[in-house]
Amino acid sequence: MLNILWPVFIILSFIYAIISGKINEVNNGIFESVADAVELSITFLGTICLWNGIMEIAKNTTLMTKITKMLKPLINFLFPDLKNNEIAKQEVSMNIVANIMGLGNAATPLGLKAMKTMQKDNKKKDTLSNAMMMFIVLNTASIQLIPTNVIAIRASLGSANPTSIILPVWIATIIAAIVGIFFTKILIKRVK
């Protein structure tokens, strides 16, 4: 997908910049963006190593099995292919739990770990497995209990009621997740 979108975005941007006389802005803009990517990676290096380490501790305790048990019905429904892969199920559960609690910093490294585990059982190494597809869609749906970042921004901009968005966010997220799961189930059946 990105093999098509990526060059199209870049080439169209350059052409548009030439037409609108913004080539100088683009020249600066791309290098600023690349510098941003480096900065973000350095931040990531800290948070991802931290959470990977903490979750490694959690994985070696009974805490993980307890959480996984709680989420079992949901996981079995969404990931029928992970039936016999206990480690993958645990990591997927932990990622979902981290997402729900709004721990974006923890959810991503956990999610990447789960992807690694699922890749071990993936028959076609260059193609997403069914479980991976469902997992990615859940992660793009942003299921979270309290949208802390947005609330913080609203408060800082002087909102009379910064937390008033919590309920609408829940409803919107659930609708988005259901639509995502529905389309993914179709893709799993149709696209091999």
Partner: protein, 176 residues
């Protein structure tokens, strides 16, 4: 109420770290050694992700700085009307799946200009809270294990995003 929620969300991360460490100690694990094993794996994940991140940021940087993204927003205004979304929110809706930091910046900009508690401000907030940086999430999740064929997962994720945004708009319109 706000204070309680703020306190809870601030205490969540330290609380969870503490809980996990105490659990590890209770079950007599070598917690520091275990921590190091996990942290080492983290380095590997970031290294694998780094090239993708550069690539994505290059494209997003070009889109934004050339002004092409604004042009696309104008083009799509009929569609926006169809979705009953205020056109002021459109740049946010388009940027949201592509870039987390850019869309957050746009959301702040919108809320500053049109008010936090207005319909436009509310819709922007709910969109930010209920959707994710889809392109980026798919890119890092697939690239960390070297996957090239994604079986159209982007379509399902974008469908979810659009549903989330339309739902955000409708709910905020009902609320206010």
């Amino acid at each position: 109420m706000t204070n309680v929620i703020n306190y809870l969300s601030n205490a969540a991360v330290p609380g969870i770290i503490m809980l996990i460490i105490i659990y590890g100690l209770k079950e007599k694990n070598k917690v520091f050694d275990t921590f190091l094993v996990g942290a080492k794996e983290g380095i590997e994940i970031v290294f694998k992700m780094f090239p993708t991140l550069i690539g994505i940021f290059l494209a997003v940087g070009a889109l934004r700085s050339s002004g092409l993204i604004d042009f696309i927003v104008d083009l799509m205004s009929p569609l926006v009307e169809l979705l009953k979304m205020p056109s002021e929110v459109m740049p946010l809706a388009l940027l949201r799946p592509i870039s987390g930091s850019a869309s957050m910046a746009v959301a702040v900009d919108i809320m500053k200009n049109y008010g936090v508690d207005t319909l436009i401000g509310l819709i922007s907030s709910v969109i930010m809270g209920s959707t994710e940086t889809t392109f980026y999430t798919i890119a890092i999740y697939t690239s960390c294990v070297g996957i090239k064929k994604t079986r159209g997962i982007l379509l399902a994720a974008l469908a979810a995003d659009i549903a989330g945004m339309v739902a955000s708009t409708i709910i905020c319109r009902i609320m206010s």
